[in-house]
């Protein structure tokens, strides 16, 4: 009896297309890139503001143009998915025990959404009007 174990070599590039759960994971990770790019656009806006009113109006026009708007919509979609997917896994990283019993994950996720809404409304009241 001779041992000769056989090992399949994993795909280094296409592995994440093999399972829907791997695709969801890559989407979650990718969503950070869109949020990062959106942050860079905001910083570019600040830079243009520092250059004077004309430069800033030009920036606003570009942001409201077809390319700017399309990007904003796509980035918004990814930002929502980013928030949703990370809030979904918070019970894993931050489990809560009260009185020796696990608090159901759905309450931890709901608390995050509640915090999100409270902060958003507070920001809106502060600077939105």
């Amino acid at each position: 009896m001779s041992r000769r174990p056989y090992k399949f070599e994993p795909s280094k590039t296409g592995w994440w297309l093999k399972q829907p759960r791997y695709v969801r994971y890559m989407m979650r990770e990718m969503s950070a890139a869109f949020i990062g790019i959106y942050a860079l656009v905001l910083i570019a806006g600040l830079f243009r503001l520092s250059q004077g009113e004309d430069a800033y109006v030009e920036f606003l026009a570009a942001a409201e143009g077809p390319v700017g708007l399309t990007f904003a919509v796509v980035a918004m979609g990814f930002a929502i998915y980013h928030t949703y997917s990370w809030f979904q896994v918070t019970p894993k990283a931050m489990p809560l025990m009260i009185g020796g019993k696990q608090v159901p994950g759905v309450f931890i996720v709901a608390a995050h959404w509640l915090g999100f809404v409270v902060v958003s409304v507070a920001l809106w009241l502060l600077v939105g009007s």
Binding site: Y6, K7, F8, P10, W16, R21, Y25, K92, A93, M97
Partner: protein, 247 residues
């Protein structure tokens, strides 16, 4: 028994004859109350006695019959034929070398499991006559879910991180390390840190979460690893804030 049948396509590999694994199809009777393991046992008993596979308890306790069923890691004893409309592709657990047919080499996991000291390291040795190490129900509740691990390796098979880098300590071993770290009777956490808090330990995990989705015992290794990351990050900063506390 009705005349209905179902086809199993089983990956075969004979290290003494084959250069590479290949599929072989078997037609077995279909029964509403059969799990995939029953169908594989039928193949072994009636069609092909050369087929090799592991199984023991037939009730999702021993963790021996993990295999890929239509590309998904599952326990063959815990998966009904009735959940598969067509044929079933049966392969050995992916990410492990194939010893023969559906039997994989699990030495890598056994070594890693041992490396995390998966047992209670007591503060001081206690003679049997001195009685038990007592624990309150609330202390047990902290880690009880992680004790359900049956070492079936489905989580390693589901983990793309382990597939790409097999130096990763992996989900089950890290979940068990967490289980003992959380145990009120245990003081072995710092002894486990060298392995657990290393790069091939928790930091190789990028939180895909596939391990927890396929776990047949709801152990949730992904949760264990993320909680260990938080604890380990706390250690890192405490080292700077309170250097005198360093062991």
């Amino acid at each position: 028994m009705s005349g209905r049948t179902i086809e199993l396509e089983i990956l075969r590999y004979d290290p003494e004859q084959d250069d590479a694994p290949h599929f072989q199809a078997y037609t077995v009777p279909y029964r509403e109350d059969w799990v995939v393991l029953d169908a594989i046992n039928y193949v072994k008993d009636h069609l092909d006695r050369t087929l090799s596979y592991r199984w023991s308890c037939h009730m999702a306790v021993c963790g021996s019959c993990g295999m890929m069923l239509n590309g998904e890691p599952a326990l063959a004893c815990h998966t009904f034929l009735r959940d598969y409309p067509g044929s079933i592709r049966v392969e050995p657990l992916q990410n492990f070398p194939i010893e023969r047919d559906l039997v994989v080499v699990m030495d890598d996991f056994i070594d890693k499991l041992g490396s995390v000291k998966p047992y209670v390291v007591p503060k001081e040795e206690k003679a049997v006559d001195d009685g038990e190490h007592l624990q309150k129900p609330a202390e047990l509740a902290r880690f009880k879910q992680y004790t359900a691990c049956i070492n079936c390796l489905l989580c390693y098979s589901a983990c793309p991180q382990y597939a790409l880098n097999d130096s990763f300590i992996g989900p089950a071993a890290l979940a068990l390390a967490h289980r003992y770290n959380l145990d009120s009777r245990d003081v072995g956490r710092s002894a486990r840190e060298d392995v657990v808090a290393s790069n091939p330990g928790i930091w190789e995990c990028s939180f895909v979460g596939a391990c927890s989705e396929v776990c047949p015992k709801s152990v949730d290794p992904a949760a264990a690893i993320q909680q260990t990351k938080i604890a380990s990050t706390g250690d890192y900063f405490m080292k700077f804030l309170m250097p005198w506390k360093r062991k």
